[in-house]
């Protein structure tokens, strides 16, 4: 569909909308709506520090550019939309620029997007060189020549998506933005990279690279584990959620990997199951992740706290936010009958089919192993969200601010309840979603395969669950009429009043698991005792825990240091600040362009 026949180099200003684009447009809408309902109420508490007009302009630009990315028909237009998306979200990350960590996050984010776009540009140029076209639908690259451009494009997309090992910027940048923006960035923006992966590598034969299936599967498996493990270690609520985005991107990538393996080994059911799992999980994650970020935003707006160690007891003060957050947590932990379970079940089924029909013993065993891996990730996610919900919303308030919290405004509550209802609806009505997905996966082959693959009666189970819980509640209500329950203090072993400090902390909750996986990071506990007679009567005891991933300390830090050093040696000579030098560069560039144009 060519909307505007403007001329832009070789490539027109053209859009193409097919079922895949529609799916992602729906995701942008479904996750964007609650974020936009939430924003006016939320931004009120930031109005002294943040320019609201800048936030709104950038927010609208971000929405439009995301729609542009998923509709662009050629690489040039795509890159334009991609850059607008990156820069508008950069403006949003930097919105709260009076805070030092916001500025640092913005710079890191900008660096990551530059690196990602650089990879993407080289890949696109290479693809253009091989095919002579900028239009995606005209690309058909296979054989050994396809590997390098495909890997470059994949690296660029993986940087945007936050896939391990390109994820470092994500948990820094996403939490720094205002909550509705974090919701959009984590819920939707990183999914545009998934869209391009599906468009170029999975759905049509634009790139036929057999190696990509195993790569996606392995990187996805590592990302998912890495994300959830580091989420468990966080005590900044928004950073915890950002790490969960790394986890869920990993789960989505595993689905795509299964799909590619299915194509490679001519297993059409596997191909469709993997793609359907990935697409469904993309939608689900957009919903529950934006819900959870909005919940974190509501807590932030009402208590001005993001450190979960200072929160607690909000279930009595913010009941609606708590209810929505618990629903979102159950959904992200893949608990039935919510939507997260439906998509993860499809992925499990994909692994199982791979284990059954895989052509080699290694592949079959690997698929069984991945089932266990997914179970491990699910159990870690449950640990993490029990920690988050338990410490933020349950127990006793751990600070005065948490004690004085009140429920968020009406708009903010509506914005959270809406996606919570969607989490339930999409789980119970999963077959209907699969019908829509069939329109996309039918491009791969027979559309009816998905219906046969979806066997579990999730709706029936949900109904049974509701009836049984309801019946038990009625029975208890009948019993309480003759024997009412009494309210009394929590058991304190007879030692007197329980203070908020006697509760488990988030760090304490995560400690057993963080000790088990100590091989991936250095976990240090620094205990500091102060006072004149420190040994017997300390005035103040503080304990600080820190963890640093070896990936960061041993790989990225030296790499960045050496880049800085190289820049100090070479780039300084090139950009010495002398106007004569710059004039020479311009003349040389003009000459080069002239030569390229003539030859």
């Amino acid at each position: 569909m060519s909307l505007f026949p403007w001329f832009l180099g070789d490539a027109g200003f053209t859009f193409a909308v097919d079922p895949l684009s529609c799916w992602f447009l729906a995701i942008i809408g479904v996750a964007g709506l609650p974020a936009l309902i939430f924003a006016p109420g939320y931004l009120q508490h930031l109005r002294h520090r943040v320019s609201l007009s800048l936030v709104w302009v950038a927010l609208i630009l971000l929405m439009i550019s995301m729609a542009g990315v998923v509709m662009a028909a050629n690489a040039i237009l795509f890159l334009v939309a991609w850059e607008v998306m990156a820069l508008s979200s950069f403006a949003l990350v930097t919105a709260d620029h009076e805070r030092r960590d916001s500025r640092r996050a913005a710079i890191i984010y900008l660096g990551a997007t530059r690196a990602g776009t650089a990879f993407l540009m080289i890949g696109f140029l290479w693809a253009h060189h091989l095919t002579g076209s900028w239009v995606f639908s005209e690309w058909g690259i296979s054989g050994t020549g396809a590997l390098a451009p495909a890997l470059l494009i994949f690296a660029g997309l993986a940087t945007k998506a936050g896939c391990w090992p390109f994820h470092l910027w994500l948990p820094i940048a996403h939490p720094a933005a205002p909550a509705p923006v974090s919701a959009l960035m984590s819920g939707v923006m990183i999914k545009t990279a998934i869209y391009v992966m599906i468009r170029l590598f999975v759905l049509d034969n634009h790139f036929v690279v057999p190696l990509l299936g195993p790569i996606l599967l392995v990187l996805g498996a590592i990302s998912a584990f890495w994300g959830v493990l580091f989420a468990l270690l966080q005590h900044d609520l928004k950073r915890l959620l950002a790490y969960h985005s790394v986890e869920n991107i990993g789960i989505i990538l595993m689905g795509l990997g299964v799909s590619l393996l299915g194509r490679q080994h001519h297993l059409p059911l596997l191909e469709q199951l993997g793609l359907a799992a990935a697409l469904f999980h993309t939608l689900n994650h957009a919903i529950f992740k934006s819900l959870l970020f909005l919940g974190a935003g509501a807590v932030d707006a009402c208590t001005h706290l993001r450190d979960i160690e200072k929160l607690g007891g909000l279930v009595h003060r913010m009941p609606w936010t708590t209810g929505a957050f618990v629903t979102g947590s159950a959904a992200i932990c893949a608990l039935p009958p919510l939507n997260g379970f439906a998509s993860e079940w499809l992925l499990y089924q994909g692994f199982f089919k791979l284990a059954m029909d895989g052509p080699s013993v290694g592949l079959r065993f690997g698929a069984l192993l991945l089932m266990g891996w997914l179970a491990l990730i699910g159990a870690l996610a449950i640990a993490c969200f029990v920690k988050a919900v338990g410490v933020v919303f349950l127990g006793n308030p751990r600070s005065r601010r948490a004690e004085r919290a009140t429920e968020a405004g009406r708009g903010m509550v509506v914005a959270q309840v809406l996606p919570a209802v969607m989490c339930i609806a999409l789980g119970v009505a999963a077959p209907a979603v699969l019908g829509q997905l069939g329109r996309i996966t039918s491009r791969l082959g027979d559309p009816s395969l998905l219906y046969h693959a979806w066997t579990i009666p999730l709706t029936l189970i949900a109904l049974l669950l509701a009836c049984t819980v309801g019946g038990l509640a009625m029975w208890v209500a009948a019993l309480s009429r003759s024997l009412p329950a009494r309210r009394f203090i929590t058991w304190e072993c007879g030692f007197g009043d329980l203070g908020p400090r006697t509760q488990y902390t988030a760090t304490g909750f995560a400690q057993p698991i963080s000790r088990i996986f100590g091989a991936v990071y250095s976990y240090t506990v620094d205990i500091n005792v102060k006072g004149r007679n420190r040994r017997y009567f300390p005035d103040k005891v503080t304990a600080e825990t820190a963890h640093e991933a070896y990936l960061e300390t041993k790989v990225y830090t030296p790499l960045l240091q050496s880049i800085k050093r190289m820049a100090g040696i070479f780039l300084m000579r090139l950009q010495a600040g002398s106007i004569h030098q710059y004039l020479i560069y311009m003349a040389l560039m003009l000459g080069l362009l002239f030569w390229v144009g003539v030859s």
């Binding site: 284990a355 059954m356 338990g390 349950l394 066997t455 579990i456 819980v469 203090i489 509760q503 698991i513």
Partner: protein, 313 residues
């Protein structure tokens, strides 16, 4: 529907009712009695769990002032989930008509039971008691170690049946090696999931050392009754699945006539219950730091089963 069919379905319904109402508490009684015998005590009567239930229902419930809706609704959700799973999971052999097979999907069942666990852990944190946090943290750690082993073991079994529905798995023959390895792994994971020795000792005098009991410390009265009943049901489900898997190693087991099949399953369940009691009598509780090592056995056993399944299929 013919007369014979009607009789058959009536008979199956009766078996189901026995499974749901009688067996869980009876199994708990048997385990307790066997444990008492191991310790040279007379022990409580076999039917003590039933008396306990009746006692809980007649006691006033005390709810912590600090507790919110999660604490109050958790026993109901936990029991509902356990009842649904106990109806669907074929823990005394396949009793449901074939049309129910898709509902017995093992991933659905395990995640459904996890829903109950999720709420139990949250409820433990709801009262603001330090014990609750302690229990919940440990429960999360244990299930993180146990669940992968369970899913790999069941996945290896499912490969032989070609389906992830538990009914399909347990009504088709399995390779004896896979059944033995997966079954052994499942016994270990069941001990962990059910908070039994040597992972957790539910009978010490100190809540500090417990996992499951520390989580439910604040419950009393009818809520405690619901939780205890759900625990009994979960015990039957996990032990029953392990027994069914081990019995799969007996080549004719899946083809036995219904009544014999049921009797063999019950016998297996009782034998496993008594063995657990014997083990609890002679073992000591593991140090908390050694629990991951113990559960590694389960992971290794399931992985071996998975290797054999991958080679054979």
């Amino acid at each position: 529907m013919g007369g014979g069919e009607l009789m058959n379905s009536l008979f199956l319904s009766v078996l189901h009712l026995i499974n749901l109402l009688l067996l869980p508490l009876l199994l708990m009684g048997i385990i307790r009695k066997a444990k008492a015998v191991m310790q040279n005590r007379i022990g409580a009567p076999l039917l003590q769990p039933f008396y306990d239930m009746a006692k809980f229902l007649h006691k006033t419930e005390t709810i912590s002032e600090n507790a919110g809706w999660i604490f109050i609704w958790t026993p109901r959700v936990g029991l509902a989930v356990a009842v649904i799973a106990a109806i669907l999971v074929p823990w005394t052999g396949v009793l449901l008509p074939p049309g129910w097979a898709p509902a017995t999907n093992f991933l659905l069942m395990l995640y459904l039971l996890t829903l109950g666990k999720f709420f139990t852990m949250l409820a433990a944190l709801d009262t603001g008691s330090a014990f609750g946090g302690l229990g919940a943290s440990r429960e999360a750690t244990i299930s993180m170690l146990a669940e992968p082993a369970l899913i790999i073991a069941l996945g290896a079994l499912a490969l032989g049946a070609g389906s992830t529905d538990l009914m399909a798995i347990y009504s088709s023959p399995a390779s004896p090696f896979i059944a033995l390895l997966a079954g052994a792994g499942m016994v270990i994971t069941a001990l962990a999931e059910l908070s039994r020795m040597p992972v957790d000792d539910p009978t010490t005098h100190l809540e500090l050392t417990m996992v499951h009991e520390a989580m439910i410390l604040e419950y009393s009265g009818r809520s405690l009754a619901m939780i205890e009943y759900a625990t009994a049901l979960r015990t039957c489900i996990f032990f029953g699945l392990a027994v069914q898997t081990l019995l799969q190693a007996w080549p004719v087991f899946h083809a036995l006539p219904l009544l014999l099949h049921y009797a063999a399953s019950l016998l297996g369940l009782v034998v496993l219950g008594i063995s657990v009691a014997v083990a609890e009598g002679i073992l000591v509780k593991l140090k908390w730091r050694s629990v991951p090592n113990f559960l590694t056995f389960a992971v290794v056993l399931s992985l071996l089963a998975a290797v054999i399944a991958a080679v054979q299929s």
